[in-house]
Subunit: 321 residues, 2 copies
């Protein structure tokens, strides 16, 4: 059985988007439900997802493990896996890790750009690695089966997480630095160690991580995937599109600034270009998976390899956790 | 006018202790009201302090600035200045700095032993220095007049804080490493830079920071003060006793472990000696200020110098902020 999985979306969710994901044939998506929210705020977000599940039960349901991906395929639905891009919902309390797991959380970034209580983000001047509390939390995440996600983390922190974690970790949405150098993209050395440890990379379609941004070509993107599989292994690369469909620009401003600064931080944007960047025209939404399939074929991947990259690799990763 | 100030106490507050502090002639104390509590929990603590102020209005009142130390002297009372040993009450929100200031907070440690969102604690394996959020918070603390306290912070983080802060910072309760080497004690180099920047050290009477612990002699302690004033300047050293009168041992366990670990951390204690250590017999409570006066005289300090160390230096620091 082949599966199609997009392992990172953060859309302004409406029925229209769930329909688009179905049209794209996505059996599962990992959705970001938290950036900076604490535990109480998480409860409100989960309530709003419960309404989505109720209103769109013909299209989606909450995924808990790999069997839900199989079920989704059978029922022509998309399994939704919850994830956090920051550890803010567990606050400073190790016991909240199990609580958020029980509420459906399956991926949690240890940091989002800045320093967290667990590790350093890629926008910090110094990288302290995984902290004392971070070690405890990774142990607890391992015990429960909550995936450590280091997409927005600094390099030493990511090496530490790979070493400390007894289960494979993931970088759900980032690209390699050899292709396009950005604070959020990753070094070859890191990707190699990640692959050897059984971890996964979800390549991102977010223009700030793409060579030539919104003008990035499908060919260049697929060639990057080819070179990345050479570094990491053919079964270690998947898609984590980072699609932010229909989000207003104030959301990206909030993602970057949260409540930590009185001045404005433009993150990967600039003062003159502060909003969400335009998607490349061959990946306006998840229906672009079709174009990826074509593009990957052109750069020489076999059908089995393409099926791996477009979903089976993530499915097998979910199965291993 | 001479003032007596103990710039750190964390007691299990009852009228008896306020009376002891009056008997000791303390015009002001800086009290720790927070270790790990968040903003909501802080509100409950402030409510309980409001009851203390009401029930003991003949002995104490909430201090806001140096003039309240003068007022306390005049009225034979002790001005209580609020402080936090961790930044947990501001959570991840820069706007909460002003809120806690308005509620009376005048000292805030950027970290308590472990990594915080602002800086690294002295118990972390690596020291990331002051973080992005930390820089913003220091700027805001400077604007308001909330003192940066680095007693439990790691060394590079403390150097960073001294450099970033436009106002002098404080180490309210710690001792020099040259005298007794402990993770919480400070290097000569750091103390020198702290003194040059106009910052203050409050020497601690907490046995885990003392040479020979509970058996530390008054003479040794006062000699340490003499050498420390040579490093920092005669006007840069005060007292921050770290008295934890009448606290049950479960409190020190909570101070060390908060909610960050499932296993037990003994901090400066050991498995066989996990509780609060016994105070040296010449400083069982604040009435030991009398013994300090005698001890400081014996090691050669003048009366003016002794008055500085026992309170005027802190008074002048409050005046400068």
């Amino acid at each position: 059985m082949n599966f199609k999985i997009d392992n990172l979306q953060y859309c302004n969710w409406t029925r229209k988007i769930f329909e688009i994901n179905r049209e794209a044939g996505l059996d599962a998506i990992h959705v970001t439900i938290v950036y900076h929210e604490d535990f109480d705020e998480l409860q409100k977000i989960i309530n709003s997802w419960n309404i989505h599940f109720k209103d769109n039960k013909d299209l989606i349901f909450l995924g808990k493990n790999f069997k839900d991906i199989e079920r989704a395929k059978k029922e022509n639905k998309t399994a939704i896996f919850f994830g956090f891009q920051n550890c803010s919902p567990i606050e400073d309390n190790i016991d909240l890790v199990e609580k958020v797991y029980n509420q459906g959380c399956r991926f949690m970034q240890l940091t989002y750009n800045n320093q967290s209580l667990l590790a350093s983000g890629c926008y910090e001047k110094k990288d302290s690695g995984v902290t004392n509390f971070g070690r405890e939390v990774i142990k607890e995440m391992n015990r429960l089966g909550l995936v450590v996600d280091m997409s927005h983390s600094a390099e030493q922190s990511t090496f530490d997480a790979i070493e400390i974690s007894e289960k494979p970790i993931a970088i759900t949405h980032a690209n390699p630095n050899f292709w396009y150098s950005a604070k959020r993209n990753k070094s070859n050395e890191l990707l190699k160690v990640l692959g050897e440890s059984g971890g996964m990379l979800g390549v991102s379609l977010y223009p700030h991580h793409l060579k030539n941004g919104s003008e990035c070509t499908l060919e260049s993107f697929c060639e990057m995937i080819a070179r990345t599989t050479e570094i990491m292994g053919i079964d270690k690369v998947g898609i984590g599109s980072d699609l932010c469909l229909d989000q207003p620009d104030k959301i990206v401003e909030w993602m970057r600034n949260g409540t930590w600064s009185k001045s404005k931080n433009y993150g990967e944007g600039t003062k003159n270009n502060p909003g969400f960047p335009k998607q490349p025209k061959w990946f306006l939404d998840a229906r672009g998976f079709k174009n990826l399939e074509t593009g990957l074929k052109k750069v020489g991947f076999s059908e089995a390899e393409i099926n791996g990259i477009l979903g089976n690799n993530w499915y097998n990763f979910y199965k291993r956790i």
